[in-house]
Amino acid sequence: MMILPRAIRKFKDKRAVKDPRWASLFDKYEGDEVVSLDCETTSLDVGEASILSIGAVKIKGKRVKTSERLDIKLKPPADLTAESIKIHKIRAADLADGVSIEEALEQVLEFVGNRPILGYYVNYDIRMLDKFLRPTYGFGLPNKAIELSHVYHDIIKWRHVGGDVDLRFDTIADKLNMPMIQRHTALGDAISVALMYVRLKHGDTPL
């Protein structure tokens, strides 16, 4: 696959949308909501990874709308390895009543709409979803991406002149003194990231 900047790809993709249902995804977003999204996958290599579960919550202002959320478990993929089971604590049995990837993608598009997507290393999650979106839909997620570690870095960097900022997930959560909810479930991580984002956007600068 050709490596193209996202903006150009998006321009190309927009023309490729065949189903009018999805045309609005490419409209500029005017609202004040953000969607925090996280995927649990079998590997960190986009090329070979499968998606196990997808979690997402909407954020409106200072409110994490856990009442409006997405909590999808997929059918167990062929490559569910012992290694990923250890990390996510998801076994094939847990996914027995999961949905197909097609159904999952439709739910994601429906839920996210044209809202910005927030995540920790969000590009990874977007690329994972794109990998499965493109063959069926002909386009990747056009949404604006918000990277939690960038938001954090932009706010905290002046305190670390000349030094590297530790951008590990647990470090950020710790520095922000935010609770971690259901770590290593897709929905739990999406909620934790959403809380950190709200905290960064609306709270005092962390020490």
Binding site: S67, D71, Q182, G188, I191, L195
Partner: protein, 608 residues
Amino acid sequence: MPDSFKMGNLPFSLLTESEQKLLRSNLDIGYYQSGEVIIKAGEQSEGVYVVYRGRVAESEPQDEGDEMLHVFMHYENEDYFGGWSAMHGSAIHNFTAEEETICHIFSTDILLELMDSNPGFADYFQQNLAAKSEIVAQQGEGQDMAEFMLATIEEAVVRDPLIVNEGTSIKESTQLMRETKSDSVLVRRGGRIGMVTGTDILNAIVLNDGSVDADVATIATYRLITCKPDDFLFNALVIMTQQQIERVVVMEGDTLVGVVQLTDVLSYFSSHSHVIGLRLERASTIEDLREAAAGLNNLIKALISTGVRIRFTMDLLAAMNKRIIAKLFDLVVPADMQPHVCLIVMGSEGRGEQIMKTDQDNALIFRNGLNWAEKHQTMQRFSETLISFGFPPCPGNIMVSNPEWVNSVDDWTQNLQDWSMSNDPEDQMRLAIAVDAKPVAGNVALFKVARNWFLRTMRNNDLFFSHFAKAAVEFDTPLTFFGNLKERGELDIKKGGIFPIVHGVRTFALEQRILATNTFERLEALVDAGVMQESNAKDISEALGLFVNIRLRQQIRRAEQTEDGIDPTPNIIELQQLNKMDRELLRDALLVVKSFKKSLTSRFNLPS
């Protein structure tokens, strides 16, 4: 669906599984900076907020120029707020984050839906103190049961075994059983031990036409069900239920320790008080009585720790104390003098509301013109003996060893009248103590004559009642003290809660010439007389019960920490010792006191 939300806390633990699911799926999470107003007075609350992290203060909206921020209550650590505001349309107070705060939030719609489907949950949210206490008590029942069940067999109810050897006749065995008040006998046959119960003997003789001279070993059962002394009592009960038997043999290794009976297990709970009562009844010397009285403190602790309702505890204790005092009176006062005098107890003792042994407040009324030379000597001895039983002397010296409190009927009525017309706070206090008097021994008619006369003269004396009621509203009822949670907050619960209720109710009762002295009974009588609404009386009762209960638990804890076993600050409630539930109930109860004081103020035209 955040499982950061704790469903185990009241009132959410009252919800059914499907209701909890509904709630869970409708939770949002809100983030608030320090100083941010979460709900503003006058505005609508979005729903119920449950604090996950941080601290929220509820305060009165400030007018311009107000210097002090009047904080009613702090919410933290799974406390919830906003429900009242949500149901009543708009908030009357400000809810402000005092530090960075995260709350779980669910909407008013969901609250109403849950209240609709679950009456217990609804009661809880209606802020009805009586209902709330009831719910808390019910939820606590399981725990009490657990404590009871955790007792081990050896602590509780092992009976010494009655053992006979092979060759003993059924008749002899039956006689032995009768003598030792056993209803079973163990039979040693070679190396084995068998059991014969009363039923076995009946069956052998009556149904099977056996001879009373037959060897008892022939009708014994040798497959004995056993347990160990350190087994839980609970296990013994389970075994008995499973095997459908009523006795289990207790064995320590190969040694026979005793027998546990089903009836003993079942009555274990109540047997403590029963035993002490029996001992009091049988005491024939002062020494016997002293020993029986010493068991009382442990009884109180046992009752409190097993969660027996405070009012029952008070009733039981009042009855016990009354028996001790009456018994001592019998032992100390010569029989020929007893018809001419009446011993009364006053104050909390008279109301039957003391829990720990409280100060002696007692007096003696004697027949006009009685000639009894050793009167004061005898009363001196009476007071001293009570002190030696662990009833502390009255600091105000209101006891029979003080001749001022030993009076003829005429002098006693004169005293009551003098006190009622005096402006001296000491006299007011004496009167308050005296109108709670209850006769415990001697000739009750002497007491009744004086009391009835007094009640008649007080009739319609508005000036007196207005004067008398004043003390009830004298002390502030401090709701702000919850704000001091982190600064070792303390509250004098007697001044802030107990006294206003007791004295206010006493005033109402006197005015209605109600003869009961117990505050709870007075409240019931006031409802019957149509002077007070039942719901108000219930709330006041609950509030008083709660104060006494919380105070008692703290007293016991403090008393255990001191060397002499006496709590130096018996009326202090230390806030940090209270759990969330207690704090919430305490706050509601203090609100009840506040509104009761308001009704006193308007009823008796007190300066407000």
